[in-house]
Symmetry: C2
């Protein structure tokens, strides 16, 4: 008998029929003798509909009120799911983030879980009942205010509960079969990975693979929670995300890609110490997350340098506005903004001990006629920036160059979407 | 500077535009210097939509889960209303029933408020902010489970908060101008009452006037909370519901009517002691509320009697099913069910000291050719059952007979709808 935490995303509970289908799956898992805690997201488009209602009322809703509004979504799905399970003769009770003991800091809209005190959940499973828990939400310890965890929050709720309860596994149900060596929509020969390490999964999530939220993987790694990413539409095993020790190290697990980045180039920065620090300070203060950075000596003029960096395109306006505000102070000449870039990342835990991976990567891209604009690396990842319209070709070329297409036994990456 | 509790029903916050309109009204009241606590119901048809979702999932939802589901409705409306008020430059914060300290018993679906501990509400108004509170909901002290208060629950939330906070007045906003001498849709000459006593309002609410929920009036009477029933579509004063001492006593305040009752006749009950008690015990156990009772010696047979009683038509199936189950045991011959009855009630605190009111009532009905089927009375009320299709005529005839049509200075009753 195992204690399993399952998480179903919005696409798995898009309407009443889908809720009933998920309920059947949960009832079967319970009847098979498992203790079950189920984390659920808001149904289908509920969150967007609620955001739309808020927009009709005010252009700038207070974050505290927005959190209260959005949590109505999970409240609806969790109650319906509990009803549907009871209807199948299996006892189930639903709990809000607060009732489940999900304690967060007070940063509304993107709160972090600071503690999990799941007394009621434990009581419920000890009675042989299924506990349904609202994903994506928590409560502040001090003021008892409702918070939301931001994008991917339900994954994090599930992993945090699995850690707090000492669950045997945290199953993340999604609309794809697991983690793939590349996005199957781009690389039809991509293969599902049986296993991947936390480290690799972190790099994959950070590099654009959307199948698991980055924060949930960080949480799982810290508390050593095994994650099983699988499809809610089939009973096939998916991908296990586990500790490195237990696994042989494939050189390359997979190829991730990211189309959501943009590049800002600060042209003609005086080449004196401290200017770069000043620029990145301004951007960070504006709340934008810088990813890759390249600094070149300006070709045209002496004593000047160009600094390029990438960031999420959604932070583009904020960052350029902030930089324009200090143009005189820093003394740069102009700004260039480019949101037609694509980022490809090659990830593999075995990369550490295998030289020659970058040479093979650059060779493959060169042979495919694809220009590399920026490069960044970590111990187990190499990322390159290309033109957005050559990204798909780049992913296919690299996937093939590292023999990920074939049934070779090692390999990882990209899944579909999920929250 | 007054402390005012306002309550807005679902029809007052039916969509984003309506929410903005109500927000404007609240912001104005706050700017006029009042401390404000605002109780809000779910938007328009939200509750029905949620019930419909539940019905798609299971025919018999557990009440605990149904309560969680339904409270999502107020969660949405309260957050939107708080946002809209903030957008007008007035600070407002929303609170769930739990956060507002509305403690109830654990009877899901129709919980009773057992305590109100509004620390956070008090804090909020002391900071000069408007506190928005979800109506219709509370939380159990023992298990921290969410409950709903049943029909008219938001009125009760408002009155209970007004009592707990020692508010100067509880304003119940609705879609009619106040309490009328009769339903203006039936009696076009009906007049709005300036004042009515708690006692009269209780009888009115119990007799079918829907403008205020019965339980909220009981609560207001117990804690002496002045209620002001008024329209959210105008700034005209409505009707004050207050203590008797402060008022001169009109003989008749108004005429209420009720179309939602049905009559069950238990035919051929053995005329021995204890049979009636047995019948009403069975009906009560089934959860049906009996209103009026008439027992007649059976015309056709000796040693047998017929017992008729009225109850909400919505309890009809439950009650007849329960009675059929004990037909052999009790030994009655048959059951008759009639849901084409109407009930008219004449209400007035002055009735106590004025004989001749019933004679005048029966005379008026007789002159209008309307047959009386059952009669029941309290100190300040006379109710009669008629055929449903003569109810409107009956209301008009009685309204005229007691000179309520004219601008005479005294009179009360029926408003429109409200939850």
């Amino acid at each position: 008998m195992s204690l399993i935490v399952q998480k179903y995303g919005g696409s798995s509970v898009s309407d009443a029929q889908a809720v009933k289908r998920v309920a059947k799956r949960i009832a079967e898992a319970r009847r098979a003798g498992n203790d079950l805690v189920v984390v659920v997201s808001a149904m289908g488009d509920t969150t967007d509909e609620l955001l739309d209602l808020a927009a009709q009322v005010t252009p700038l809703p207070p974050q505290r009120e927005l959190d209260i509004l959005l949590t109505a979504g999970e409240r609806i799905s969790m109650a319906l799911l509990a009803m549907a399970i009871n209807n199948l003769g299996v006892k189930a009770k639903s709990f809000t983030g607060q009732q489940a003991g999900v304690i967060t800091d007070a940063v509304h809209g993107r709160a972090h879980i600071v503690d999990v005190v799941p007394h009621r959940i434990r009581e419920t499973i000890e009675k042989g009942q299924v506990a349904i828990v609202a994903g994506f939400q928590g409560v502040t310890a001090e003021t008892n205010d409702v918070t939301t965890l931001g994008r991917g929050g339900s994954d994090t709720t599930a992993v945090a509960l699995a850690a707090g309860l000492g669950a045997d596994v945290c199953e993340i149900y999604t609309d794809v079969d697991g983690v793939f060596t590349a996005d199957p929509r781009i690389v039809p020969t991509a293969r599902k990975l049986e296993r991947v390490t936390y480290e690799e999964m972190l790099e994959l999530a950070a590099s654009g693979a959307k199948v698991l939220a980055l924060r949930s993987v960080e949480y799982a790694r810290r508390y050593k929670v095994p994650i099983h990413v699988r499809s809610s539409f089939s009973t096939r095993p998916g991908t296990l995300v586990i500790e490195e020790e237990a696994m042989e190290q494939p050189i390359i697990s997979g190829v991730a890609h990211d189309r959501s980045q943009a590049k800002i180039t600060v042209v003609g920065v005086p080449d004196v110490p401290g200017k770069a620090a000043q620029i990145f300070q301004v951007v960070a203060t504006a709340g934008a997350n810088i990813d890759m950075i390249v600094q070149n000596v300006s070709a045209a003029k002496t004593g000047l340098t160009d600094i390029s960096f990438t960031l999420p395109a959604s932070d583009g306006t904020t960052a350029t506005t902030a930089l324009r505000g200090v143009q005189g102070e820093i003394g740069f000449e102009s700004l260039q903004y480019d949101d037609t870039i694509g980022k490809l990342s090659l990830i593999g835990a075995g990369m550490k001990s295998h030289p020659g991976v970058s040479a093979r990567l650059f060779g493959a891209l060169s042979a495919a006629g694809i220009n590399i604009e920026m490069i960044s690396t970590s111990e187990i990842r190499i990322s390159v920036v290309t033109r957005a319209d050559s990204l798909d070709d780049a992913v296919r070329a690299v996937h093939t160059a590292f023999e990920l297409d074939v049934e070779s036994g090692e390999a990882v990456v990209y899944g579909g979407t999920g929250r």
